[in-house]
Symmetry: C4
Subunit: 307 residues, 4 copies
Amino acid sequence: MQYKNLGRSGLKVSQLSYGAWVSFGNQLDVKEAKSILQCCRDHGVNFFDNAEVYANGRAEEIMGQAIRELGWKRSDIVVSTKIFWGGPGPNDKGLSRKHIIEGTKASLKRLEMDYVDVIYCHRADSSTPIEETVRAMNYVIDHGWAYYWGTSEWSAQQITEAWGIAHRLDLVGPIVEQPEYNLLSRHKVESEYLPLYSNYGLGLTTWSPLASGVLTGKYNSGTPPPDSRFALDNYKNLASRSLVDDVLQKVRGLKPIADELGVPLSQLAIAWCASNPNVSSVITGATKEYQVALASVMALPVAFHLS
Amino acid sequence: MQYKNLGRSGLKVSQLSYGAWVSFGNQLDVKEAKSILQCCRDHGVNFFDNAEVYANGRAEEIMGQAIRELGWKRSDIVVSTKIFWGGPGPNDKGLSRKHIIEGTKASLKRLEMDYVDVIYCHRADSSTPIEETVRAMNYVIDHGWAYYWGTSEWSAQQITEAWGIAHRLDLVGPIVEQPEYNLLSRHKVESEYLPLYSNYGLGLTTWSPLASGVLTGKYNSGTPPPDSRFALDNYKNLASRSLVDDVLQKVRGLKPIADELGVPLSQLAIAWCASNPNVSSVITGATKEYQVALASVMALPVAFHLS
Amino acid sequence: MQYKNLGRSGLKVSQLSYGAWVSFGNQLDVKEAKSILQCCRDHGVNFFDNAEVYANGRAEEIMGQAIRELGWKRSDIVVSTKIFWGGPGPNDKGLSRKHIIEGTKASLKRLEMDYVDVIYCHRADSSTPIEETVRAMNYVIDHGWAYYWGTSEWSAQQITEAWGIAHRLDLVGPIVEQPEYNLLSRHKVESEYLPLYSNYGLGLTTWSPLASGVLTGKYNSGTPPPDSRFALDNYKNLASRSLVDDVLQKVRGLKPIADELGVPLSQLAIAWCASNPNVSSVITGATKEYQVALASVMALPVAFHLS
Amino acid sequence: MQYKNLGRSGLKVSQLSYGAWVSFGNQLDVKEAKSILQCCRDHGVNFFDNAEVYANGRAEEIMGQAIRELGWKRSDIVVSTKIFWGGPGPNDKGLSRKHIIEGTKASLKRLEMDYVDVIYCHRADSSTPIEETVRAMNYVIDHGWAYYWGTSEWSAQQITEAWGIAHRLDLVGPIVEQPEYNLLSRHKVESEYLPLYSNYGLGLTTWSPLASGVLTGKYNSGTPPPDSRFALDNYKNLASRSLVDDVLQKVRGLKPIADELGVPLSQLAIAWCASNPNVSSVITGATKEYQVALASVMALPVAFHLS
């Protein structure tokens, strides 16, 4: 496993990382979580991503308990969480000083950790001035609850505004953005964010490398297999948006390339993300059944870049 | 109940809020306080205002105990207090660094809370440089004892001076002013403060929406009813200043409008304050007997603005 | 007793204050200290001065214990201490970051207080850059161990340099200087410091209002009475420097003025210091025997200024 | 023993100091450490240097325990440690915010101390922006875990960049650099760093005054004595690099000078380092056997400078 600096910061993250999204607290409880986390660690993964909203906080509780029971040394790993959706009340969401501080404290309590390494703004909040958010994130860092902060799914304009405020006030700016990025969704990373890499040293931790599974090729027939996510009722909307003709055509076109390289399409898709020099880490997720496949991805030499 | 941002900040406050002034510690003890606070909460009120001077600190003790006994989650509510009059000694009042820090600590101890959401300067203090006050308020915020700070009954010049200092020192300025505001007292809010709303994003939490009861119409005859506040000896001065002819004439002129809208005059008066877009929250106060009326006010759709 | 702002700060100090110098830990122990402190408080004194060097720290222990046993409310009084001579080691003295932080912590431990109101640099330290001292004093204030800081016996140039650094770094500067000041020693207060009062709002707490007793008139004969301080062996040097002809002539010349005013010379001398508008507080010291005299001084109306 | 300011700071360090490198945890355990530390203290040494990497942290544990058992007053001594190599993981080394904070906490835990006086960056880290390191070092200082920070083996360019960042952000810069310096290795101290002494008031604590023993003269024959370090297998590389002809020739040329002065060559070599006015302290190391020799070095009057 290779380690990259998270953007221009000194933090080192494994090129592939594990995210608790979808799985922890839904499909996986502590016992399975321990098994999958240890599998990641065995393959050199040191970066584990979470969010206050994942399974309404249960994902943080599971990850925290699993890591404690595994007896890992805190400094050996990089843990992140994300703040935005903390509950139903008017002050439970968004990026106000109140919610950032209350939300961070609540996340740390669920994780039973003194700090996370990186804390993200899970989305942009148009109802809070970015200055308030930049100040609150610096408060979190000054209090030792996080070492770095970042954003997720912010626009290039919003990240630039945050950096302008940080520079004006001598505060620290966001070192990382967490966008969706995969072979089917490339605009933000490869175009919109371009000036940010050199201007601010922005790093990327990307999610959805397989485009919700579409890039495994398992939906290539156009009909979701009965045991797949898109066959579930509450994913019907996403399925109908994802499984359109021109998308499936693209995916089918990738199959011969994967075959030529002698790797499954999913590995090709993940390796392609990781090979982008602006991507610090590709966040993968995996349920128990997928564990073996995950292991082989972790072991994958990332040595090619298809642009 | 609608929620508004407190000025340009990311904090969300209910359009109507509850203030402990006059009632807590004087007419109401913990049991009644719990009942009235729960009534507010049931109608969507999330903002509760207090001050170190209310009933000499007893109002804070009652509110804190009531909230604990009600088992509310701290992050669900917005609690504020105000510092200025803390006792008889030369350093017990005003906005010196000493009194702001000592007063805030004492308030939090009485509330048995780790922090308030907003801390106000209850008045301006001409004997302390505003820079000292701005720095002390930032000290309070940096220590996590409050998320935001504001002023009460400061002049536009004083608020502007505070913002100039905050900008020069890269500190946070006051996000909110708490003035008196009602149909009979409009100058500050509608004229003096005008540049502050856009310049500094100033929000308002307003007090005395009923002008000490005058806007209920119950004094329209000119003679205070025997069970009213103005019939009490220690309110005689205020009564004689409030119940003058031109005031009563104005109030009498509002009655037909309220009748046409089919609401009591008091509801009209409160709704009128809340409908001002620069007003974030209208602070109401209510004794036990008034509870039913309060409930109906809380339920009031605020949809008109008489200017 | 009148209260004045300490310079341009919002802190209010009594015009006459009590200093532990010479007496606490030498002539007075806890029991006598309690009696004399209560006498001061009864006459409206709210400001009590100390230093880490007084009786090698014993003065702080006595004052702290006395105040605890008297049951005073901490916010009712203003307590100060001074850092410079903390012990015999190379890092035990001066104004390095190390000694300021270690010395302040040790003083607070002896006082058994969480904070002092004002912390002074007891002298200037030419072997430490003033920037290091300004930063360390702000560290002390940011940690809540003091509300304000000041200097003692610094030159106008040094105070000006400290303010320049504080302004450049957006830190707080020294609000008060503690010089010797009395009818026989006027240059610093009335000439050298002149620009500092308006430029920086500098306040003064002055010591030695009686010029080591010379201004009581008891040495007017030129021969120290057997029970006086100057009759002691280890005061011989000071005595020979103080009791020179032109000094005694000045003191003898003041006697008729005091007689005309109907007050003892010592009261005239103290009142004269206090009447200087740039003097915030005159620090007096008193042993047990002097207690009655002290009481009468405290009760003195300060209404004249002899320039 | 003379004390010098550590560069332009107010911290006073003994001209000769003791470093735990090589000895603590390797040749010496707590008992011997106590004996050698007390010997140093008896000769006036007040400065003791350590690093997280020395004996993988054991050197810090030994020094901390020894000092506790000796009952020394913390403020009487100056303790330093250095952060860079904390373990085998990707985030265990270097000068990222994560490793500086985690490493400092771990060092303090091993030392069982609340703070060190000086914390060094043990090397430069080209994979972390210097701004991140400057900010993290200021975080450590703001939290009270160290009073000052410095560098070790940084280039003049890197130190200058750190000071530029510190000045731009109003933070504190590195007050001291710890380079190798001895009669055989003079370039950095006497040439490269020249502008830093006056520009930034940089102080120096130097290591290897005897050039790994070469300047004792014991290798002058060219063949390491059987009980010397260079006779050991894992020092063969260093030995072959050190014991080259032109080096030995220089050392042999120094012998007559030492003889003329009537001191052993090792004392001449150490005193020569200490006599450089830009050197604040010369760090010596000594095993038990060397204790007597050390004592005589400590007692050495440093009064000559051979340039």
